[in-house]
Amino acid sequence: MKFNILQKLKEIFLKVKSRLKFYFVFLVAVFIFFTIFSIGANLFSYFDPLTFCYIGIENDMLRGNQKTVRKAIGLLKKEDIQSYKTLCKNVDTIVEEYCRAADPRGRGQEVGIDEPGCYIRGSKVIYLIPTKKDNQFVINQRSEMIKKYAFFSKNFWENQQD
């Protein structure tokens, strides 16, 4: 009887052990995949695996700086988590490009070209004026702009639903 119980316990232990081994290998595989994906995604865009926040960054190679866009998003996450959540939900792409709010051939002058950024209504795209500079002032300014235009996008899509 005693032997039977021991035998049974041993069987259960072996079963649990093999199951745990499987789960462990599975978790390690998922972790490795996720890490590689995160690193790859962060080369060309912004990806935060903890909040599942993915934002494509289309940068201007010659005039822009993708790093400061990523740092600005990181700053927003650190300082204003609510705005960061709004950003993740309402913005899918940040483009380093000059805003053009008018056709100079129609109006005779450019509008918006000197603005630090803008939001494209009907999309989840925001533009940021390209700059190669990489300092705290630029990061702070970009963070503020990203926050402002994320709320523009939120307002647009909320009004669409009404």
């Binding site: 008018a102 056709d103 509008v111 603005e115 939001y119 209504r121 009907g122 999309s123």
Partner: protein
């Protein structure tokens, strides 16, 4: 192997009894352990055989499945590269990709979607008056567009900004409505003012 033993086991399973319970009851009735195990094995084998036989009938074969996937992929690619379809608004536009500029047409498709939500009235005009967009360079040059008569326009704004592509689409749609350059520049200007929020 007497069939009544197998029937008894099947009935017991149907009643919700566990294997161990059935085994114990059969041992008490005088059946040997070998006979019982043999009966269980035969039942399991016939069950597996039944599943295997019917799986072929229920599930499609690998070949059919592969062909179905390939067809799906083919039509998916055709749609991705050559068409913009919005059934709800009866909008069907053929997009001719440019091998040299932008083969994916993602910029044009994205811009049409912006027009749809950003300026529904212009979108309705576009859907009504345009059925073909050519992404190759035409009389408008690079980053420009051209009205080719009928329902055809050219929009060569590969990798350009989406807002500018929207403006070109509206400008060329304006020509399709019969207006001249002055009115259509004004239309492009108006749509930029509408969709770009500073």
């Amino acid at each position: 192997m007497p069939t009544n033993l197998r029937d008894y086991i099947k009935d017991s399973f149907m009643k919700g009894l566990k294997k161990a319970q059935i085994e114990a009851s059969l041992l008490q009735s005088g059946w040997t352990k070998e006979q019982i195990e043999d009966a269980f094995e035969r039942i399991e084998f016939s069950q597996k055989e039944f599943i295997e036989k019917h799986r072929k009938r229920i599930l499609p074969s690998k070949k059919v499945f592969t062909i179905f996937l390939l067809i799906l992929l083919f039509f998916g690619l055709i749609y991705q590269f050559f068409f913009y379809i919005d059934i709800g608004n009866s909008c069907f536009v053929k997009i001719i990709p440019s091998i040299t500029l932008e083969f994916s047409n993602s910029n044009i498709k994205r811009s049409i979607k912006i027009l749809k939500y950003g300026s529904p009235a212009d979108y309705q005009d576009f859907c009504r008056l345009v059925d073909t967009i050519d992404a190759n360079i035409d009389c408008g040059g690079f980053e420009g567009g051209c009205y080719r008569g009928g329902k055809r326009i050219a929009v060569s704004t590969a990798q350009g900004t989406v807002s500018w592509t929207v403006a070109i689409i509206v400008h060329e749609t304006c020509h399709a409505m019969g207006f001249g350059e002055t009115e259509c520049y004004a239309a492009g200007d108006r749509i930029l003012g509408t969709i770009v929020e500073i």
